[in-house]
């Protein structure tokens, strides 16, 4: 009886090996990225699903500026994408030491160590038209646009549409559909 079960198991494993599909060049292997890499990939994806107002760019080939305040590791992970383009624009990835020098950014990631400063600056409405992203609690309800939320071992995101509208940004419906939480 057990021998027969084992025969089947072995046969299945052998089948798995033979029937493995033609090798794919772009294997999205799950469970193999670090937290920073996942967050960087998120930021790259967000950029694809956001429309900036025309006034945000001076020329058609002006780079899309992605800025980081804090989060050294995430900045490094993001730098591996610096040769990509989004919406036809090259990427310019930079670090800033304070939130006060960021109005020229199109995307601004704020690490949690700057959250005190973030609460103050968010109130002043200086982030126009900036897609603000952070990974600390209550960012979205406090007026930020996208918050990366840790759910167990997975990372999800929440969105504040009102804040996006106020910043003059248009978020695609796909983004809103996938968000775990949408602040109206």
């Amino acid at each position: 009886m057990t021998k027969r079960i084992l025969t089947y198991i072995l046969a299945i494993f052998c089948l798995l090996l033979v029937s493995s599909p033609a090798p794919r060049s772009e294997a999205a292997s799950s469970s193999s990225l670090t937290e920073e890499q996942v967050k960087a990939a998120y930021i790259y994806n967000f950029a694809k699903f956001v429309q900036w107002p025309e006034t945000a760019f001076l020329s058609a080939n002006e780079p899309l500026r992605i800025c980081f305040v804090g989060s050294e590791d995430l900045f490094k992970a993001m730098e591996s994408l610096s040769d990509k383009t989004i919406q036809g624009r090259p990427l310019k990835i930079s670090k800033r030491s304070t939130l006060k020098t960021t109005p020229d950014c199109h995307i601004l990631f704020i690490s949690r160590h700057y959250q005190g400063e973030a609460w103050q600056e968010l109130k002043k409405n200086i982030f126009t038209p900036v897609l603000t992203i952070a990974d600390f609690d209550s960012f979205v309800s406090g007026g930020g646009i996208i918050e990366l939320v840790r759910e167990g071992s997975k990372i999800r995101f929440a969105v504040n549409i009102a804040a996006a509208r106020q910043a003059g940004l248009n978020l695609s419906s796909k983004l809103l559909k996938l968000a775990i939480f949408v602040e109206e």
């Binding site: 090996l17 060049s25 937290e35 996942v38 994806n45 050294e72 990372i155």
Partner: protein, 692 residues
């Protein structure tokens, strides 16, 4: 490793083996074909590995973020047999304890011996104390130097567990002695992720009642904490006669964790737990009287507490240090002996990148252990109190031979302990990624298990036999420790293959060949008369000696497949072969050394199915097969666990669980000490409420 050597070790009569022999070459051919395929494809593909742009939002949302202890690494890039049990795995399997969860790991043997005793082993040497495994809770070792093994006195609140990282095979180069056949690291969640409150509880026939509460909050910006308390009460198991065993288990535990991110560079973590447990069992005590032995029910009480502090400091993006201090105390009272054990441990490690190719890790540690034993007639220690120090250092370099393709890891641990002196435990590991979705690895390592107090300083009075008149009337068979033991030594050869066939289908195969030396076994000494305790009797001494050698080899396979969005399957199979023999100075037949080979199952299989039904129901099934254990007289068994989960609302979850459904009861293991008991079919319901 010599292939012919293995071949002639195979017993010729097993039909299954001959079958395997027939099938394996075909499998190997297919494997080579598969790898060849991959290599052929390799030439055509541009290097996609570090390209983060290939992931869609949907991919990202389902991605598990893994950071393996000591340094963070991608799971597919670890040149060792790694397996991770996630929070979701624990929740959906319906397990109520850590040992049960470990049954998911391919190649792990988990036997529930009675209601409060587990034998957890890997790659053979099944034993009550799992003496060749190192078990850590958040980096804190719960391996007992007194018993040279782990008793599952310590526990965690399952809802706090983020994941359980398991490495099969030696991890000694990083973790040090006793990480011989595997390491288990139970990682609890950052208190940032356990904000709000959670209340859980349930009851059933075997799980008579259990519950837990947790509350988490923040006390400053980036400073979070949680406190929790848990309780359970488990029913008696039964003897094979059907009578209740006296081994019910009641346990309380409470604790806290505090995570403080001081700034971009410094993170501090503090945690602590306190627990008290009440259990028992039935044993046959030797008696120097006409009855020779008496069967006694006994009670075991354990109380303990621990604290741990950890400081992580970033020097630069590629360099950081971690300093960890912990203290552990347990106070155990039982029929065999009472023991107070204390461990203090301090560890420092520094991780940095050296140029573009070298990822360097080194560390220093010191551990101070002391115990105080209250001896009994059955078990005694000499000296009854002992303090030991353990000094250790390790270095490891992960060398990028070719970016995204070839990695070489070289490392070693250097230790000085009070039993065997200086020990070196090096390893070399090579990882090859012919493609981003395929990894092949191979390793050679040396690991040791150092003797503990039980091996070195104990005397266990086993059995009293009648002795021919004239007096003495009794012959006392006693087991004596030996303070002249060498460390048990392992040289392990391992190789593995991981293939992410599609995003929903993955395969992980590991093979190993282990060669052991200086394994502990028994020798018989010359009988001598003893006056105390009265009456005068003869003692036949059995002495622990390091005269056994062994070879083990096996294969462990894990596969996971998502046939549909709502359905996940996970399968694990393991094959194990053990050969043990004495080195010639002690005859094998004396204690039937070969018999010990039959303490671990040759074959184990597990299949888990998880389905999301409708919008808020979950149906989870878990089938397991464990081969027979001839030496313990345990027949093979097949069991089924089932769970029906219902998310009544976003905050409220109800589950109905059935465990060991296929039979009324079955035995899984035995010990030398207690009367063997059997595991019964169980049902329980559980309600969990979360709110912020």
């Amino acid at each position: 490793m010599d292939a012919n050597n293995i071949k002639h070790l195979l017993p010729p009569t097993m039909p299954l083996l001959s079958f395997l022999k027939r099938v394996l070459p075909i499998c190997c051919l297919l494997l080579i074909y598969g790898i060849g395929n991959c290599l052929a494809a390799n030439g055509q593909t541009s290097n996609p590995s570090s390209d983060l742009t290939i992931y869609s939002l949907e991919d990202l949302m389902e991605m598990e973020v893994i950071s393996l202890a000591k340094t963070t690494q991608k799971l597919s890039d670890i040149p060792a047999a790694v397996f991770v049990i996630t929070e979701e795995d624990i929740r959906r399997s319906g397990v109520t304890s850590i040992p049960e969860a470990l049954r998911m790991v391919p190649g792990f043997q988990v036997a529930k011996i009675d209601s409060n005793t587990w034998a957890v082993t890997c790659r053979g040497f099944n034993d009550l104390f799992g003496e060749k495994l190192l078990i850590l809770i958040d980096g804190r070792s719960i391996y007992s130097p007194l018993l040279s093994g782990t008793i599952w006195d310590e526990d965690v609140f399952l809802e706090d567990v983020e994941r359980i990282e398991v490495i099969r095979g030696p991890g000694a180069a990083l973790w040090g002695a006793n990480a011989v056949n595997g390491i288990i690291n139970i990682v609890t969640k950052n208190s940032r992720d356990t904000q709000g409150a959670l209340v859980t509880g349930g009851a059933g026939n075997e799980e008579k009642g259990f519950g837990g509460v947790r509350a988490g909050s923040r006390f400053a910006e980036n400073s979070f904490y949680r406190v929790y308390a848990k309780y359970f009460n488990r029913d008696n198991s039964v003897f094979s006669s059907g009578e209740d065993a006296a081994d019910a288990w009641e346990r309380w535990q409470a604790g806290f964790r505090l995570d403080w991110e001081k700034n971009d560079k410094d993170t501090l973590v503090f945690h602590g737990d306190v627990y008290t447990t009440d259990s028992g069992g039935t044993t046959q005590m030797p008696v120097m009287g006409p009855a020779l032995s008496e069967v006694t029910d006994f009670k075991t009480d354990v109380r303990g507490w621990n604290v741990l502090a950890l400081w992580n400091h970033k020097l630069s993006p590629t360099s950081d240090t971690t300093t960890q201090v912990f203290f552990n105390r347990s106070d155990r009272k039982e029929i065999y002996f009472d023991a107070v054990q204390e461990t203090f441990d301090i560890d420092f490690q520094h991780h940095f990148a050296l140029g573009r190719r070298n990822d360097f890790l080194w560390g220093l540690g010191y551990r101070l252990y002391q115990d105080k034993i209250d001896n009994s007639f059955r078990v005694s220690f000499d000296p009854d109190s002992r303090t030991d120090g353990l000094l250790s250092a390790f270095v490891q370099d992960r060398i990028t031979l070719r970016e995204d393709r070839w990695y070489l890891t070289l490392g070693s641990k250097f230790e000085h302990n009070d039993y065997t002196g200086f020990e070196i435990q090096p390893n070399a590991r090579l990882l090859w990624k012919p493609r981003e979705d395929i990894s092949l690895w191979a390793s050679i390592s040396r690991a040791v298990r150092t003797p503990g107090r039980l091996d070195s300083d104990s005397r266990i009075n086993f059995i009293v036999l009648p002795y021919a008149s004239p007096p003495p009337d009794y012959n006392l068979i006693s087991l004596f420790g030996n303070d002249d033991l060498e460390s048990e030594e392992l040289i392990a050869y391992e190789a593995g293959f991981r293939y992410q066939i599609t995003p929903g289908l993955s395969l992980d195969i590991t093979g190993f060949y282990n060669k052991y030396d200086n394994l502990i076994t028994l020798d018989i000494g010359t009988p001598y008369p003893e006056i105390s305790p009265a009456p005068v009797h003869l003692v036949t001494p059995l002495t622990i000696v390091d005269k056994m050698k062994g070879e083990t080899y096996g294969v462990e396979i894990a596969a996971s497949w998502n046939p549909a969005d709502f359905w996940k399957l996970a399968a694990a199979y393991s094959y194990l072969q053990i050969h043990l023999h004495n080195d010639g100075s002690v005859p094998d037949a004396l204690f039937n050394v070969e018999g010990f080979e039959g303490n671990s199952p040759h074959h184990q299989f597990s299949l888990q199915s998880r389905m999301d039904l409708l919008d808020n129901f979950e149906l989870d099934l878990w089938l397991r097969y464990v081969d027979n254990l001839p030496n313990m007289g345990i027949p093979s068994y097949v069991t089924l666990d089932a769970r029906l989960g219902w998310h009544i609302s976003d905050n409220l979850e109800l589950s109905l669980n059935g465990q060991n459904l296929f039979d009324h009861r079955h035995p899984e293991g035995t010990t030398y000490y207690n009367e063997p008991a059997e595991v019964e079919r169980g049902f329980y319901g559980k309600l969990t409420w979360r709110f912020r």
